[in-house]
Each structure stands twice: as structure tokens, then as C-alpha cells.
């Protein structure tokens, strides 16, 4: 019987070998992959046990980790509650950190970033507990609060930029949510809060300023005007353009009317500047026809449409569709058809015009500091995204936009003693609902320090430009005033 016993012992040895191999695979070969799985509670707890970096706005923490006496060791709290909810996101044991800076800058906040490698090594040697990096944001507290108050109970978004650098001065999306209960260590509370948020029909978790696409409506006429000026279709703000009551679109039975069914000027003609002041649909529709879809699209792309931007949160790319036929080009030229944009993108349009045609890459993080306040990454050098239009075109556009505020539909954006440039918009999106109200602007027009885009969902009045001017423009004005200290 010894021969089969020996053979059976070989079988047993094979069984053991299998177990040795499988254990080695798990604990050595695949260990990193397994550790990195998002659902892995051990990794999450490891991150909790390390003090996560704070997020600072204007010297005050809007997200910070405070030590607590439980297995997680640190509780993530958001002292400002709702105000920065879409900027920070939340950091929850029950849910994770799917949104905002908590998601996008997790490696810095948690201390796992490669840029913190040297610090981790010295921490290991000195026995100091490794902590995550602190983020100083570019946000201006007053502008943020003004934007928040301006939106009030409306759904919508406000973004303010420093046109010279691309620094984001305000970023508000309504409705907001309180990140504190979701980040609670009481898992029942956290799950309940999360379920309420996830099933919210108004999608409070969504950062509308960068992740929601809206039809830009008449604010897009600025882009059309830029294209027409750059392409030489018109020479300056006083160029005469067609302005009939109704623009006949080729290839179709549909026409493009002005909202008030009136021509924009005597003899169905008007000037470019007047067309923008009164937001003349037929004038810009006919410019769209003359330019064609591709040139419109190219101009929009120069302002950043289609670019994947990370601020560091990923910004949903705005878009003008390709292969537009003539009537679609005319519709697109007034910001309808399939043109879709984020509020941040429209703020970049305003900022680009304000900054002599140079669009700066937007960013939210001013500097990154280690736990003991050493600067790890200082304020980034402003990065030019593109030269969207020539300085001359930018001057003409500024002149026209100032006129919109001084003489046209954007009167409510006026600030005493400050020259404000702006453009209203009313964007149809759903026939049964009121249109979205838009306003883009910058100020002071002769020395721009702030550019703003405001969208108020369903805030307009069908068939009128007053939505943008009445609802959105005052919000933009308050934000600009906050930045300018007026």
C-alpha cells in the first residue's frame, strides 16, 4: 500500500502548493489592486486614521477633520454647512467621496499624493503622524455669499472668475445640501442622508456650475459676434447687419422670428451694437447663416468649448454640434438648437473678452500646504488656455457689452461708478416650462477684475429678454460688487 500512499501524499503536497500560491497571489501579487478597490473598508479606515487635510476659504476652514474617540479617529466636518457643499463634496465612511474636491483632490487631502512622498518618508523616520495636505481655495468669501444670497431659493448656478488669472472667485450651485450628516460616523444617519440626497429630484449633489449643460440662449450671441468680427463678416460695432422681424431659414419651412415680432431697425436693418443691446435674433441668425456652422464651432472652441478642463474637479465639456446645416447654424448662433454649455464656460467667454481675448485656464486651488503649513504648491502661474479673439475684437465686444448694460437689456447690472459689460440670455429648454435666465458680465470694463456667469433655471419669461435682465443680472451685479468692494 505504500506506493499509493506516496502518490496520495503528492496529491496533498499539490493541495498545499495551491494554497501557498493562492495566498501569495492575494497577499503579494494582487495586494495593491485589492487595497485600491473603492469598496475596501480597510483602506477607507486607513485614510480615516490619518488626519485629512483641511479646505480653506479666506482663512477659514470649510472642511476639516476633527479628532474623535471612535474607531475612525477623525470626523470630517463642514463648518459652513451648505454654502460650499458642491465645492467640497463630502467625505463619508458610508458612501465614500464621490463629489467635489474631496473626490478630485483626494490624494492631496489624504496625504497619498506623490508630491507628499518626501514628507511621508520623513514622517516615518521622525515618528510623526502623517497628515494630509491643506488646500487654500481661490474663492472670495464675499462673492460666494453674494452669489448664494442672490440665487436665493432658485435653482441655478453662479460662477465668478478673475479674468486675468482664471482663478475662480465664486462657485455656487443651487439647491445645496449639508455635507455634515452624510459624513457622520453614525452609519444610519449617514445612509439616510445619502439616500435623501441621491434621490433628490432637484439633484442637489450636482455642481451645476461645472457639471450641468444648459442652452446658453442669447448670451451665445457674444460668441457669434466674436466670430463675425474675427472672420471679417462685419468690421466693427457700427457695421450694418440685417434685422428683419422674421428671418427666413433656407431648406426649411420654419423661420427664425424676433421675440417681439418687430424688425430690429428701420428698413429691416440695424447696427451690430444695437442688435446686441436688444438681443436681435434675426441679426445674429443671419450672421450665423453667413458664417456657417464650422466657423461658429471653431470660435466657440477657442473660448474653451469641447475642452476637458479640471479645476481640479472635472468640468463637463460644453459643445456646439458639428456638421450643422444652414438653419441649424442660424439657430445655434442665437444659442439654441443643440448648443450646450456649463455656467463656467460662459464665465470663461466673458472673462476671455475682458482679458483682451485671452482665455485663462480656470482653477480653484490657490495653494497647497502641508499639515504644518509649509507651502507645497504655491499659487499657480496663470495658464493661457487660448487666444479666443484678437485684442481689437475684444475691445469692440467690450464696447458692445457695456452698451447692453448702459442702454439695453442688462440695465439691472449697472453699478454706480463702475463700467459694467454684460449680456442677457433667455434660453428655451422645455416648451412646457419657463426658459432659463442667463447673464454674463465683467467689470470694470476698462480694467476687468471679475467676470461672472449666472444661470437661473426656469427663471425667464417666455418670449422676452426680461428674464435674463431682471432675474440674473442683479445676481451678477451683487457678485461683481462683492469682488470690487463696492
Amino acid at each position: 500500500m505504500n506506493t499509493p500512499i506516496r502518490r496520495l501524499s503528492v496529491v496533498m503536497a499539490a493541495l498545499f502548493t495551491t494554497l501557498l500560491v493562492s495566498t501569495t497571489l492575494i497577499q503579494f501579487v494582487q495586494a495593491k489592486t485589492l487595497d485600491a478597490m473603492p469598496a475596501n473598508k480597510r483602506t477607507i479606515l486607513d485614510n480615516y486614521a490619518r488626519e485629512r487635510g483641511s479646505i480653506i476659504v479666506g482663512g477659514q476652514a470649510v472642511a476639516k477633520s476633527v479628532p474623535v474617540e471612535d474607531q475612525y479617529q477623525f470626523l470630517r466636518t463642514y463648518p459652513q454647512g451648505k454654502l460650499y457643499s458642491q465645492v467640497t463634496g463630502f467625505y463619508s465612511y458610508a458612501v465614500g467621496a464621490p463629489y467635489g474636491l474631496e473626490h478630485a483632490s483626494d490624494d492631496l487631502l489624504s496625504g497619498n499624493s506623490d508630491t507628499l512622498f518626501v514628507r511621508r518618508v520623513t514622517d516615518l523616520i521622525t515618528g510623526r503622524k502623517t497628515a494630509g495636505a491643506t488646500l487654500d481655495l481661490t474663492i472670495n468669501v464675499k462673492a460666494q455669499k453674494a452669489a448664494d444670497q442672490g440665487l436665493g431659493k432658485s435653482r441655478g448656478a453662479v460662477v465668478a472668475l478673475d479674468p486675468r488669472t482664471g482663478a475662480i472667485l465664486a462657485m455656487v450651485s443651487h439647491p445645496q445640501f449639508d455635507p455634515n450628516p452624510i459624513s457622520s460616523h453614525d452609519l444610519a444617519t449617514a445612509s439616510k442622508a445619502w439616500e435623501a440626497l441621491a434621490s433628490d429630484p432637484n439633484k442637489a449633489f450636482l455642481n451645476r456650475s461645472i457639471n450641468e449643460l444648459y442652452p446658453p440662449g442669447s448670451t451665445f450671441k457674444v460668441v457669434t459676434a466674436a466670430a463675425a468680427l474675427e472672420e471679417g463678416v462685419v468690421t466693427d460695432e457700427n457695421s450694418v447687419v440685417p434685422g428683419p422681424a422674421v428671418l427666413d431659414l433656407p431648406l426649411t419651412d420654419t423661420n427664425l422670428p424676433n421675440e417681439n415680432r418687430q424688425p430690429c431697425g428701420p428698413g429691416d436693418k440695424t447696427t451690430l451694437i444695437h442688435a446686441l443691446e436688444i438681443s436681435c435674433n434675426t441679426a445674429f441668425g443671419s450672421l450665423g447663416l453667413q458664417l456657417g456652422g464650422e466657423k461658429l464651432r471653431a470660435q466657440a472652441a477657442k473660448f474653451g468649448f469641447g475642452d476637458v478642463i479640471q479645476i481640479p474637479m472635472r468640468v463637463t465639456p460644453s459643445s456646439v454640434p458639428a456638421d450643422l446645416n444652414a438653419p441649424q447654424a442660424a439657430q445655434s448662433a442665437i444659442g439654441q438648437y443643440e448648443v450646450k454649455t456649463t455656467p463656467l464656460q460662459m464665465a470663461m467667454v466673458a472673462a476671455g473678452i475682458a482679458n483682451q481675448g485671452r482665455v485663462m485656464t480656470p482653477y480653484l486651488i490657490d495653494q497647497v500646504r502641508s499639515a504644518n503649513l509649509d507651502v507645497i504648491q504655491s499659487t499657480p502661474e496663470p495658464v493661457e488656455l487660448s487666444q479666443a479673439v484678437s485684442p481689437q475684437t475684444a475691445d469692440i465686444l467690450t464696447k458692445m457689452m457695456v452698451s447692453v448694460v448702459d442702454n439695453g437689456s442688462g440695465a439691472r447690472a449697472q453699478i454706480p461708478g463702475v463700467k459694467v459689460a454684460g449680456k442677457t440670455g433667455t434660453a428655451q429648454h422645455d416648451l412646457g416650462k419657463p426658459p432659463h435666465a442667463w447673464f454674463i458680465s465683467f467689470a470694470p470694463a476698462d480694467n476687468p477684475q471679475v467676470a461672472v456667469a449666472v444661470v437661473v433655471e426656469d427663471g425667464g419669461v417666455t418670449g422676452s429678454e426680461v428674464g435674463g435682465g431682471r432675474i440674473a443680472a442683479p445676481i451678477a451685479r451683487e457678485v461683481m460688487k462683492a469682488v470690487l468692494g463696492k
Binding site: M1, N2, L15, S22, T24, Q27
Partner: protein, 464 residues
Amino acid sequence: MTTTVEPLNPPTRRGLELALLLGAIAIVLIAWITVDLNRNGTVPANIVPVAGGLFVLALAVHVVLRWRAAYADPLLLPVTTALNGLGLVMIHRLDLAKGQLGTDGDAYRQIVWTAIAVAMSVAVIILLRDHRLLRRFTYVSMAVGFILLLLPLVPGIGLSVNGSQIWIKLGPLSFQPGEFAKIALAIFFAGYLVQTRDVLSLAGRKVLGFTFPRGRDLGPILVAWVLALLILVFEKDLGSALLFFGLFVAMLYVATERVSWIAIGMLLFSVAVVFALSAFTHFQKRVDLWLDPFSAANLERSNQLANGLWGMAAGGLTGTGLGAGRPWLTSFAESDFIYPSLAEELGLYGSIAILLLYLLFCERGVRTALGVRDGFGKLLAVGLTFSVAFQLFIVIGGVTRVIPLTGLTTPFMSLGGSALLANWIIMSLLLRISDQARRPLPDAPVGIVDDPAEAEPTQVVRLS
């Protein structure tokens, strides 16, 4: 069989055993202290009674061996002590995490069970003077084995845990009768096969180079198969079914030297598994979890396997250190998942060390089977050894995703009295057989007279 020439007075190696035993206890105590140092920063207050208790228990077996089985294998007891002790350390560690200390802790219960198991082990060594006595109980063992196996199906005392019905509950006590059935069946298979091996190995016809048994000789394997099928269908436990059927086929092969039995066995078992898979969602779910433990839907259903794997990964090469990991995140961390728990805190080095301890245990079992002179002893030793190795493969293979997860215990380490008791009895039987194997031949037969029919020199004469 080749006859080994042994020295006239081979050493008993009891001194080696004592030294290794002290080493094993030292390792366990260091591990125990490490847990408390990492958790609380203090040396545990109960270290003196724990150390004393372990020492007394292990030494009791050692002394009894010196007295009643002086030639018993010197490695089995130290290895068992180390494994039992490491299991205890992890159970104690999980108690600390749960805040259960003193007599309401699992570790306390496990220590009591260890004491009972050691007492049982001592009793076996003292009362069972010669393993061949067990042959008399071949058919009693069969009855006991079958009854134990099917006991969880009796309404009123059967207990369903995690979808598998392999527990019974008698008053305050619950245990897994399958653990004891393993021993009874190994005795029965050994006794039965040693009698029938000639028939089972000789008759048959040759197909494709394999000699296949005659139809009427298929009876025993079919009975075993039906039994396995009953466990599979009614107790819903793939692990137990696989263990018993595997044990039978392995012993059948050793008894008959016929590979065709293994082929037939695997074929029959595959049929059973395919049937179970198609008929019961319970098994489909297990297979599903096994194939993709990390999908969101499967994590929702059971994150146990995934948590165990994450725990092992968190341990990495060197482990988090005893008391410094988070093994409690895995459910059943102290029983079915005690291996991942230890792997998390001891790292890959620790897991390999644990596997090597088991390998050593099995190697000593095989050596015992090779060394013992009677066929019954050989079959029993190899059967018991294989049952430990195979059970280990089923449970650790389950938690490391080699095979679908089933509900067996990790021998010597898992929390649970019945498993501990049964495995210590297995170890005692191996000790008893190894004493026979290593003892120099007496000048004249004493006590039991061997049945000449089963003496090893009687070679099977092959007809084909």
C-alpha cells in the same frame, strides 16, 4: 513493501518533543502578549494563568506519551499546540476588538474546549493501547458515522447556519457532528477496505489501459456517493459532501492502487455538483460570489469573501502586526475566516508559516502511514491525514478563492468545540499509530495477534 532496517534501539525523541513543545508555547505566548501590547500598550494581566494553563495542558499530553506511547511521533503534538495556540490568540484578539473579556469572551470558551480536547486526547492515548482494536468497531463506526452525518437533518435539533444545515443543537450546546463523523468514517473505511481490497482491486476489465471494476463492486462507492448527495441536497453543504466523498475515494485508491476509482469518483462527484448547481440557487449564489466577489450586487449580498481577501491584502508581506489590523471587519473572522484574520495581522510570511505547520502535520501523518506495518493502520493513518489536508484545502481554498466558499472549520484554529475535539482525537489516533510505526519490533508478539491475512508481506498477485 520495502523493509527498512531500523536500529536496534531507536531513540524515542521525547526530549525533542519537549523542546519543540516549549518552543511552540513560547511562540503562542509572545503572540498573545503582542496582541495586548498593540491593543492596549500593556502586558495582559491574564498572561500567567494562560501561560500556565497552556503549559500544563501540553505537558499533560507529553507526559502521557512518555508513559503510554513513548515512540509516538515527536512533531505532531508541538505542531498541534502551536496551531491551537495561534487560533486562540486570534480569538482573544477578536474578543478585545469586541470588548468581550473574561468569561463572556470566545477565547475563554475556546480555552475550556481546548482543555476538554486535551483531556479527550489523553483518554484516547491511555485507553486505546493499540489502534488495531478499532478494527473491531468497523461496522459500529459505520453506523455512528452515518448517524452523525445525517443528524443535522433531524427536525428539532438540526440548525441552519448560513444556509447550510450542518449543525445540531442540544440544549445549550451546539456542535457540528460532521467533525466526528469524519473520524468514525475513516475508521469504517479503513476496516472495510482492508477486508475488501482484494476483490475491489483484482476483478474488473481493462478499458483504455485502466482496469475498471465490475458492476457489482461499484456498490460501496455508490453508497458513499448517495450519502454525499444526501448531504449536498438536504444539508446544502458542498464542503462536507466533498470532504467525505473525497476521503472515501482517496482511501479506496490507497487500498486498491487503482486509478480508475479516482476517475469514477470524480465523475460521480461532478455529476452531483452539476445537479446541485442546476437545482439549487444556494449553490449558484456561492459560485457567483466565488467568480466575482467584488461586483456591487455580490457585495450587497455578501461581502464576507471580499472582506477576507481585502484583509489578507491589507496584511501584505509582513502583516499589520497582531492586534494592529482590522480582522473584525470580516464576518466569522474567528471561525471560517480565521486564516484570513491571521494572514492580515501576520502577513504573507505568517500565512506561509501556518500552511507549513499544517504541511508538517500532514507529512508526519503520511510518514506514520508509511511506517506502520498493518494495512488497517496504514489506511486509517493516511485517511485521517488526508481528511485534515483536504478539509484545510476546502476551507482555505474557499477563503482564498481557489474554490467556492463552503462552511468548514480550519482544523485546530477555528472557534468551535466540536471541531477542536475531533481534531485533537485525530491527532491522538495518529500519535497512537505512529507509536506502533516507530516502535522497534518486539521479540515476540505481545497482546494482540495480527490477522495474517492483512500482514504486509502478503502481496497482491495481479492477474491481468
